[in-house]
């Protein structure tokens, strides 16, 4: 820039400062504050705030519900990564490589659940699973599998997979689009050369498509892990509130209940820190596993 340095700095301050200040107040402060509050026993009124050191964390260590919640969180992470990536990759390849005329129709339809609110999705699927008026049981009854019909969300063994299905349902479109973006960048000549060499479509998929869209696949997997650990609770809270018992509890729903329903804000803050730690460790480990040299073309 060719302005005098004083007006240049004024301009930069104008551009950067207001945003950064608001960011400090509404993003950085709450995150550091979350760490700070986790060392207190606190019911929300400032008079009742007592410093208790690591007691909240010791309590977490002995809390059997939080253990269940972490396991459930990882169940969602695992099932979502496998379910979403398999289907998204399949659909992305099918819609880009296989000259399907109605591909734009599928692309629009498959992305559609991504624009819906998680609350709406949760309520809708709660209905779908409803023992009396839901279409799942109604369908099972119609095809004669009456024994299979059950209150899906009220059943301790079936509640987790039942919540995972709408989570996958709602997630595929976005990742399909990301992978399609990756595939569109792969030079066509590679496939033409492979055709001439007589490589089957399956071989082309494994030896050309997967390595070349690996950056998109990797980004997608990491993104699913992060959003799952930080966001699964919305669906859980709407559909079951963590129940029956604590069968579908995840870390986020447990935090919400402890803090905003039972007013144990210090303990809730400690759960928040736990979510952060678990997310960071999981992302680091996954990054290590997914590490693969970047392919040049």
């Amino acid at each position: 820039m060719t302005f005098s340095s004083k007006s240049k700095y004024l301009f930069l301050a104008f551009c950067l400062l207001p945003t950064f200040l608001l960011f400090l107040i509404f993003t950085v402060y709450p995150m550091l504050g979350g760490l700070y509050y986790s060392f207190f026993d606190w019911s929300g009124t400032s008079a009742n705030k007592t410093f208790i050191g690591l007691d909240n964390y010791i309590r977490l260590w002995n809390d059997s519900i939080i253990k269940k919640a972490i396991i459930n969180d990882f169940f969602f992470v695992f099932v979502k990564v496998i379910g979403i990536m398999t289907l998204a990759l399949f659909f992305a390849v099918a819609l880009t490589q296989l000259k399907i005329k109605e591909a734009p129709f599928y692309r629009i339809v498959f992305f559609f659940p991504n624009i819906m609110s998680v609350v709406v999705i949760g309520i809708l699927w709660q209905f779908i699973y409803d023992p009396n008026m839901g279409i799942v049981n109604s369908l099972l009854n119609q095809v004669g599998l009456t024994d299979w019909a059950r209150p899906w969300l009220g059943d301790k063994t079936w509640v987790l997979p039942s919540i995972a299905i709408p989570a996958i349902w709602a997630g595929i479109g976005l990742f399909m689009l990301l992978i399609m973006g990756g595939i569109s960048n792969v030079p066509k000549s590679l496939y033409e050369a492979a055709d001439i060499d007589g490589a089957s479509e399956w071989q082309q998929f494994w030896h050309i498509t997967v390595p070349l869209v690996w950056p998109q696949i990797k980004t997608s997997i990491l993104y699913i892990i992060i959003t799952s650990l930080n966001g699964s609770f919305v669906l859980v809270q709407v559909m079951t509130g963590g129940g029956p018992g604590s069968a579908s509890e995840v870390m986020g729903s447990y935090l919400y209940q402890r803090a905003f329903e039972d007013f144990q804000f210090g303990y809730g803050a400690a759960i928040g820190v736990l979510i952060l730690v678990v997310s960071l460790i999981t992302v680091l480990i996954s990054q290590f596993i997914l590490k693969k040299e970047k392919v040049e073309y």
């Binding site: 819609l95 692309r107 992302v283």
Partner: protein, 274 residues
């Protein structure tokens, strides 16, 4: 052989399209049905298309009010996000410095940290400022939460603007503010569109911040109101009304999406993740 594989590939595609569409059709049909119809004939078309359920959801269950509140928060939040992000993105892209790099990394890092961690302090911060139950404050919280993401998308678009344009404007005596708002901002219109569409959809759909930060029923946004409607409908057995409420929450996004879906796809495939 080709024909067989073409058919085989279409089976999962058609199946998934059905799995996506059917629940939505079921929801729309349910919105026109009476309770009895919902129970006895879950698969059939409604016998008469009356809008009673929609009227009841809109008037008796506060969905109308919530709709307007969501609209307000979405528009104001999207506008504030741009107001906060465009200058920062411009400064960060055009003035390369140590400080700028640190700032970029701080914004980037904040995207990786679960927002759940900040809920409790944020709640008490807004309480201290008397900003709980305030739609302006909620819009601001939304806007700031999406600032990092918006900056990253816009930096890419600003990077594509030829520097010569700005240099010519400087020669013509234009101030940096003029360059930012009169030259750069119009040139990144397509980036602004993409990012605003994505922001607006997430503000319209947001649930948890609104649940925590809003308190009175007249302030509720659609997400919170839908959750309440679900609980009320269970007591009143007003299932058709609940379906109608779901439709009211989804229809605007469907319309918005049909108009702008090209931009979403474009932004997604050309934008941030390369």
């Amino acid at each position: 052989m080709k024909v067989v594989s073409q058919i085989l590939v279409r089976i999962p595609l058609i199946l998934w399209a059905f799995i996506v569409i059917f629940p939505l059709i079921w929801m729309f049909m349910g919105a026109f049905k009476s309770n009895a119809e919902i129970f006895t004939s879950p698969w059939s078309f409604p016998t008469d298309f009356s809008f009673t359920n929609f009227e009841r959801a809109w008037n008796d269950y506060n969905i109308g009010r919530a709709f307007l509140n969501s609209f307000f928060v979405t528009v104001l939040g999207s506008f504030l996000t741009l107001l906060l992000s465009i200058p920062t993105a411009y400064a960060l892209e055009r003035v390369r410095s140590k400080f700028g790099e640190v700032l970029v990394n701080v914004y980037l890092a904040s995207m990786m940290i679960p927002s759940v961690l900040g809920w409790i302090p944020l709640f008490f911060l807004l309480m201290k400022f008397n900003l709980l139950d305030n739609l302006w404050a909620l819009s601001l919280v939304y806007a700031i939460s999406h600032v990092p993401f918006t900056i990253f998308i816009l930096v890419g678009f600003i990077g594509n603007i030829p520097k010569e344009l700005e240099e010519a404007a400087v020669v013509d005596g234009m101030s940096p503010y003029g360059i930012l708002f009169k030259i750069v901002t119009p040139l990144i219109k397509s980036g602004i569109m993409t990012v605003t569409i994505l922001n607006a959809i997430s503000y319209w759909n947001e649930f948890f911040m609104a649940l925590i930060l809003l308190q009175t029923e007249s302030k509720n946004t659609l997400g919170v109101a839908m959750n309440l409607l679900k609980i009320d409908a269970q007591y009143d057995s007003a299932w058709g009304v609940l379906f109608a409420g779901l439709c009211i929450a989804v229809i605007p996004v469907i319309i918005f999406y049909s108009i702008f879906q090209r931009h979403i796809v474009k932004g997604m495939t050309e934008g941030a993740i390369k």
